[in-house]
């Protein structure tokens, strides 16, 4: 990206097609991005519509969105328009995505080459296990200084399951400074249920030699359980899963030859000189590009000298990234050759000694430089003629972005009230809560009174018989009342006789009637009012 932006700053509008990952399993989805980088004063695209991406039969592509952002390199701002697509791998095979062709407002067209995507067969989840974890190094044997990849992978058929990894301490290995660990998560559609996959790659440099076996990696697998509550939250079961230990043996490098650069990896060296004719004193840019799967941290080019010219170091850019299957480092060095004499400048070949883990031996990369014809410099007359009446106005780039100015006055921001919020809320809610409280109390009181009155009314005759007072007059009054309560409509000779006996005792001569009380209680009970 940086290289693309850097080149766009200096050159015209550029377009790039990026696919991640370039290897997909059948049913897996990936992403594709079309990046349109517009530099200073470059023509823009004439549409914000997503560009059409031709795609092979085994892939399905759908547009998912776009975004714009600005990027600054050495103070120059470029516009990056990003179009995102989703790719689904339908059939096994090798398929092409692209090329992309984009018309610009000046009528020209920019394009990006097609990208090949390999679709592998659908992976088998061992006996349809619900959870499977694995981790280990990309190779079991490495050389001292080599970049090895530690991969970890979690597969599950449980919907919503996820894993959080705790990796070993990597004794005898060191994290690369360039090329951050990569993580990805995706879902593979399967007739027996989708397979959720999370995987990561950690690039490490082997610093110690001998057996460098690493301990287990622990994946804490979280699985949602049950149905979501009213707020949408679900209970989560957390369960640790452990991988096998990772095996690695690091071999020491054999005795190094003279001029060994310290680079360990399989590298490619490219050279480019920007001109083959120059005049004395003119700068000739010589670009050296190194690409490979080894670390380029702290690397600088070996010294180089050539007769008839001075050599100056210009700038260097080193970058690295973890791609789906490999660690890829790139370095670009620029040197300037300044011829000091006229004639045929024949720079000697440039050599770089590296150690190749694949070959298990030191390799010497050699690039030839072209012969440069150097002509004598021309002397100027030393006169400057101006056709302007004054200094020209500074050129203003409309795409240049400047920071917004500072503010010269204003109020303080609303402070966070988190500490005092319960107090403030309590104060302002107090009247309303008071009203609610009072009404609740009143309601409870009314309910209590109603219940109590109902309870009084509903005292049964049996209860009243059990609670007969000791005073004879009061007892007779209550028995009179109970007797009348059980009286049935119409003629009731038995009850009428008892009433007459009762009234005789209560209001007549007051002679005692020993069996009366028992007879009344018997009648009341018989009539089932109890």
């Amino acid at each position: 990206m940086v290289a693309l932006v850097a080149s766009a700053v200096a050159l015209a509008t550029q377009v790039q097609l990026r696919v991640e990952p370039k290897q997909l399993a059948q049913g897996q989805t990936g992403t594709a991005q079309v990046l349109v980088v517009t530099g200073r004063g470059s023509p823009r695209t004439n549409s914000s519509q997503p560009p059409t991406l031709p795609v092979g039969d085994g892939l399905q592509i759908s547009y998912s969105g776009q975004a714009q952002r600005y990027h600054s390199v050495n103070g120059r701002v470029t516009l990056i328009h990003q179009f995102d697509y989703r790719i689904a791998a339908l059939r096994e095979g090798s398929w092409q995505l692209g090329p992309v062709e984009l018309p610009l407002i000046d009528g020209s067209t920019v394009s990006a080459d097609a990208v090949e995507i390999v679709v592998r067969p659908r992976p088998e989840l061992g006996a349809r296990q619900e959870v499977h974890v694995e981790a280990g190094f990309s190779e079991e044997t490495a050389w001292e200084g080599q970049v090895v990849l530690y991969r970890y992978r979690f597969e599950s058929t449980l919907p919503g399951a996820s894993a959080k990894w705790r990796l070993p301490a990597f004794d005898g290995l060191r994290a690369t400074q360039q090329g951050q660990p990569a993580q990805s998560a995706y879902v593979i559609d399967d007739p027996e249920g989708a397979i959720h996959i999370q995987e990561g790659v950690v690039p490490l440099i082997a610093t110690g030699t001998g057996r460098r076996d690493q301990g287990v990696a622990i994946a804490t697998v979280k699985t949602p359980m049950g149905r979501p509550d009213p707020f949408g939250f679900r209970r989560v079961r957390s369960e640790p899963w452990v991988t096998d230990p990772a095996v690695l043996t690091v071999e020491p490098l054999p005795p190094a030859p003279d001029g060994f650069s310290g680079l360990v990896g399989d590298f490619v060296l490219l050279s480019d000189v920007d001109r083959e004719r120059a005049v004395v004193g003119q700068s000739i840019t010589w670009t050296l590009r190194i690409r490979g799967d080894g670390s380029l941290e702290g690397f600088s080019l070996p010294p180089y000298e050539t007769p008839m010219a001075s050599v100056y170091e210009n700038d260097a850019q080193v970058s690295a990234r973890v791609e789906s299957d490999a660690y890829a480092a790139t370095a670009t060095f620029r040197r300037v050759l300044v011829p000091t004499e006229e004639g045929e400048l024949r720079p000697p070949p440039f050599e770089l000694v590296t150690f190749s883990p694949t070959a298990g031996a030191y390799e010497t990369h050699r690039v030839e430089l072209p012969t440069i014809t150097v002509e004598p410099g021309r002397e100027g007359v030393g006169e400057v003629t101006s056709f302007s009446s004054g200094l020209p106005a500074p050129i203003v780039d409309p795409t240049e972005l400047a920071p917004r100015p500072v503010v010269t006055s204003g109020m303080a921001s609303i402070p966070p009230l988190d500490r005092f919020m319960p107090l403030f809320l309590g104060l302002v809610a107090a009247p309303g809560v008071g009203v609610i409280g009072v009404e609740l109390l009143l309601g409870l009181l009314t309910l209590y009174r109603r219940r109590r009155s109902e309870r009084v009314v509903q005292i049964t005759p049996s209860e009243r018989i059990r609670a007969l007072p000791a005073d004879p007059d009061e007892r007779l009054a209550i028995l009179d009342e109970l007797l009348r309560a059980v009286q049935i409509p119409g003629p009731d000779p038995e009850l009428d006789a008892l009433l007459r006996r009762l009234q005789r005792v209560r209001f007549g001569a007051g002679e005692p009637d020993p069996g009366l009380e028992a007879a009344i209680i018997e009648v009341v009970r018989q009539r089932g009012v109890t």
Binding site: V2, R69, Y70, H71, S72, V77, A169, A175, Q177, Q180, P181, Q183, S319, L401, P403, R404, P405, V406, V407, T408, S409, G410, M411, A412, S413, I414, P415, P416, L417, D418, R419, M421, P422, F424, L425, V428, A429, A430, P431, G432, V433, V435, I436, V438, E439
Partner: protein, 230 residues
């Protein structure tokens, strides 16, 4: 009460003094004036943080600019100038992990303080409607609803404010920071964070901060390695 408090925090001439120094080309003096005017978390000002962020940006210290502009964005989330300058400062960085996210999505639109004021207003209104309904013999449902919503909103704002106070954003400044396995200089090195990396601080212990970056990688770093975006 809140209004009085707020009014008491008016920034007076501090902002204009710093702006005048900046106008005269005294960048360091402007930074000094605004830095001195920075209060604690409870007296933080989005304008001062924005001005400090912009001044550090002009000075070329992108990580410090980002730290102040993140603080400004937290206090004035709807201010386009802050997001503009923050984007410019981020664009100056190399490859750094994505910025640590806010604890809740609504904080990109509202501050906890603003939400708290809204909660207080709704709760007050609910109280007034309830008392009025009691006196006038009307129904209680509208007042009860307002009171309940106000209390919930106030509770959410209180939670949000506490989250920002307990887990603020930190920005790596002054060079690469080593992320370690434990809060000790002898602990194993997990990875290195580049200047400008925006992390969320989980907690602090013995001069170390437990942080989590935008890729959910967690580890301890020394307190001096990060500027906290209060």
């Amino acid at each position: 009460m809140i209004g009085l408090w707020w009014a008491g925090l008016a920034l007076g001439g501090v902002v204009s003094d710093g702006a005048a120094a900046l106008e005269e080309g005294h960048l360091d003096e402007a930074i000094e004036i605004w830095s001195a005017a920075r209060g604690g978390r409870l007296r933080a000002s989005g304008i001062i943080e924005y001005n400090l962020g912009t001044a550090w940006y002009r000075k070329g210290d992108w990580p410090r600019a980002i730290a102040h502009l993140r603080a400004a964005a937290r206090l004035r989330p709807r201010d386009g100038a802050i997001h503009h300058n923050l984007a410019l400062a981020r664009a100056e960085l190399g490859a750094v992990p994505p910025p640590a996210a806010l604890p809740a999505a609504w904080m990109a639109v509202l501050t906890p303080g603003e939400l708290g004021v809204l909660g207080l207003l709704l709760t007050s209104l609910g109280s007034v409607v309830l008392v009025g309904g009691r006196l006038a013999g009307r129904g209680r449902a509208p007042g009860l609803g307002l009171l309940a919503v106000g209390l919930v909103v106030g509770g959410i704002s209180s939670w949000g404010g506490a989250q920002l106070a307990w887990h603020p954003i930190g920005v790596i400044v002054d060079g690469e920071a080593i992320l370690r396995d434990a809060a000790s200089v002898n602990a194993g090195e997990r990875l290195r964070l580049k200047p400008g990396t925006e992390v969320r601080i989980e907690r602090s212990y013995g001069g170390f901060l437990l942080v989590i970056d935008g890729r959910d990688r967690r580890g301890w770093l020394t307190e001096s390695a990060a500027a906290v975006a209060w």
